[in-house]
Each structure stands twice: as structure tokens, then as C-alpha cells.
């Protein structure tokens, strides 16, 4: 025989498990499927060009710590080795350039960011898929 109090406790425990599972499901569905926020790899030292990895992105940022100016470009991968330059931005000195795109169904572009400079410098680039360009 199972006492009433034990049965009540089992029901409460089961309700708690259901509530926790439901909360997890809601939290999972509310979170973005893929969050991108990455600095360009292999960019230590002096370079005239650094690229981000291929990913779903919205924004690209770049700076030349050597103060020789930079351009950043958001390249869309069209497939089959074809790319389109969606937007490029150039600034002089040690200033920061950025592209901000929000195109297509999810506002993201599949491709990669790129930072270039006319002469070798300490370049640093970052790409993300945040909804604001910041």
C-alpha cells in the first residue's frame, strides 16, 4: 500500500520534473540557433590580409594597430567557389572600419569577413551575427 502522503510527494516530484523540462525547452527554443562572434584566426604578427572562417555572419570589424589604415570586406559565398563583395569600408590610421549587413531570411550572410591593408601591419578582425552592428 502506498500512503497518500507518499503519492502526493511523487506527484509533486513529477510536476517539478515536467516544469524543469518545459522551462529548458522554452529557453532552448528562444536562444539563437548559432551565435557567431569570432576574431580572425592566424592573424598574429604583420600581415596585409587576414580572413575570418566561413560562417553565418552579419557584421565585420577591423583595425590596423600599426596605424596604416585598413579596409574590411564582407564576402558572401555564392557556392561553387563564387563570392560577392557585399560591402567594404576603409579608414585611415588606427581607426576601426565595419560592415553591417542584415539580408535574407534570417538576416545573416554565409561567407566570411576580411581585413586588408596597403602595407603590412598588425591587423585584427572580428565577425559576428549580432542584430546590431556593435
Amino acid at each position: 500500500m502506498v500512503s497518500d502522503s507518499l503519492r502526493r510527494r511523487r506527484v509533486q516530484a513529477a510536476s517539478l520534473v515536467v516544469a524543469v523540462v518545459a522551462a529548458c525547452a522554452v529557453a532552448y527554443s528562444a536562444a539563437p540557433a548559432f551565435a557567431t562572434n569570432e576574431y580572425f584566426p592566424n592573424c598574429e604578427g604583420l600581415h596585409t590580409l587576414c580572413n575570418g572562417n566561413e560562417n553565418y555572419i552579419r557584421n565585420v570589424f577591423g583595425i590596423n594597430h600599426s596605424g596604416k589604415g585598413n579596409c574590411t570586406t564582407l564576402w558572401r559565398n555564392n557556392g561553387g567557389g563564387s563570392y560577392t563583395a557585399m560591402e567594404s569600408e576603409c579608414v585611415g590610421g588606427g581607426n576601426t572600419s565595419a560592415e553591417c549587413a542584415n539580408l535574407g531570411g534570417y538576416g545573416e550572410v554565409y561567407g566570411h569577413g576580411e581585413i586588408t591593408s596597403g602595407s603590412a601591419g598588425e591587423l585584427r578582425g572580428r565577425q559576428d551575427n549580432f542584430s546590431n552592428c556593435s
Binding site: 580572425f40 563583395a85 576603409c90 588606427g94
Partner: protein
């Protein structure tokens, strides 16, 4: 014979409390004077657009679905044709450069870009960004756009085209924008008489015609 211990403790505690209160007052005064100094320094050079009363500011619009958005706090400074220009003050560096930056953003049909520089430098000498959208420079349909966030007192910029033709573009609320696929240089005079020049041809010469390999550098 023995005096109560509390009579010794109470004056000691009171002395400690007085010393602590004194230190607290000194620290508070120091912080307040430092804050006042910072504010007075900022008010001398801060761009006029960032000093507008909040009621007159047009903060970032609620962007339509699918449109690129400026960061929160960005001020809508101008609308030129289909392009919206925003100015942002004291923003954190997007690439971890350290220090605060002032930025000018431009958005046209879901695409945009920005030029940012250290706040003190932008307030002193301004910043110019050169963007190319819709392809690499010179590609059919590609648009070359010049945007600037300029110090107080700069009334206009001078654009010189590749064919030598020169013309002026008016600056309003510290920002300026111009589409010109033939632009070669941009220059403007600062209130102290110095002239700032941006070599557009040299800058866009660094834009590659083909992308590098993802994740690679050279």
C-alpha cells in the same frame, strides 16, 4: 578600583568612526572633483550633435525587419536619399582596441558600414570612412560612398574627383555623406587652420578584387 572597560572602548570607537568618516569625505570629494574635471574637459571638445537636449535627439529608429541596425544609443544625424547616417558617442571598441570611440554609421537598403576612431581624436580632427557597396571598386553597380564625422566648426568638406573637378559638400550636425564613384581625395579645414586630407584612391586600393581563403592570412 577597576574602571568599567566600556568607558575606554567607547571613546576609541568614536575616534575610529570619526577617522573613517573623515576618510570617506575625502575620497568622496576627490571622486567628485575628478568627475567634474572630466565633464569640463569633455564639454570643451564634445561634438555638438552629442550635446543636443535629449528631446531633440532622434535615437536609432526601430529598424524594419531585415534591415541592418545601428547600436543602441546611436543618434540619427541625417537622411540623405535612402541613406541614414547615425552618430555614436563613447562606444566601446568593437575589436577590443581599448578606450572609447566615436563612430559614424551609414545604412542603405539593409546594408551599412561604420568608421570609428578614438573619441578625443575624432573630436579634434574628425574621421572619414570610404565604403564600396554592391561589389568591388569599379564593378558595375558598385557605389563608392564617403561619410564623415567632423569636429565642431567644420562647415564643409572638399571632394576632388579623379578628373580634377573639385566641389564642396555641406556638413550638418557634424556629419556628411556623398556618393561619388570618381572621388579621389577628401579634405577639410579644421578650426585651428590645419587641413585634413584623405586619399580615397589609396584607401580603396587595399580592397581585394577576390577574397582570400577563409581563415588564412598573408
Amino acid at each position: 578600583m577597576n574602571k568599567p572597560r566600556s568607558s575606554k572602548i567607547v571613546p576609541g570607537a568614536a575616534l575610529l568612526a570619526i577617522v573613517a568618516a573623515g576618510i570617506g569625505l575625502l575620497v568622496t570629494a576627490a571622486l567628485a572633483s575628478s568627475d567634474t574635471a572630466k565633464r569640463s574637459t569633455a564639454s570643451k571638445t564634445e561634438l555638438a550633435i552629442f550635446s543636443q537636449p535629449p528631446a531633440l535627439r532622434h535615437l536609432a529608429r526601430t529598424a524594419a525587419a531585415g534591415a541592418a541596425k545601428p547600436p543602441p544609443g546611436a543618434i540619427l544625424a541625417a537622411v540623405v536619399g535612402e541613406t541614414e547616417l547615425y552618430a555614436l558617442h563613447n562606444a566601446s571598441s568593437a575589436v577590443g582596441a581599448g578606450g572609447l570611440t566615436d563612430c559614424v554609421y551609414h545604412f542603405t537598403n539593409g546594408l551599412g558600414g561604420a568608421a570609428c576612431g578614438p573619441t578625443s581624436e575624432v573630436e579634434e580632427s574628425g574621421i572619414v570612412g570610404v565604403s564600396v557597396s554592391g561589389g568591388v571598386p569599379g564593378a558595375p553597380g558598385a557605389v563608392l560612398r564617403i561619410t564623415g564625422l567632423l569636429p565642431n566648426g567644420v562647415q564643409s568638406i572638399k571632394i576632388t574627383d579623379r578628373d580634377g573637378v573639385t566641389y564642396a559638400v555641406h556638413v550638418a550636425d557634424n556629419v556628411v555623406e556623398r556618393e561619388d564613384n570618381n572621388a579621389a581625395t577628401v579634405s577639410y579645414g579644421l578650426p585651428d587652420g590645419q587641413v585634413e586630407t584623405t586619399d580615397v584612391t589609396e584607401l580603396i586600393g587595399a580592397i581585394p578584387r577576390q577574397p582570400g581563403l577563409p581563415g588564412a592570412s598573408s
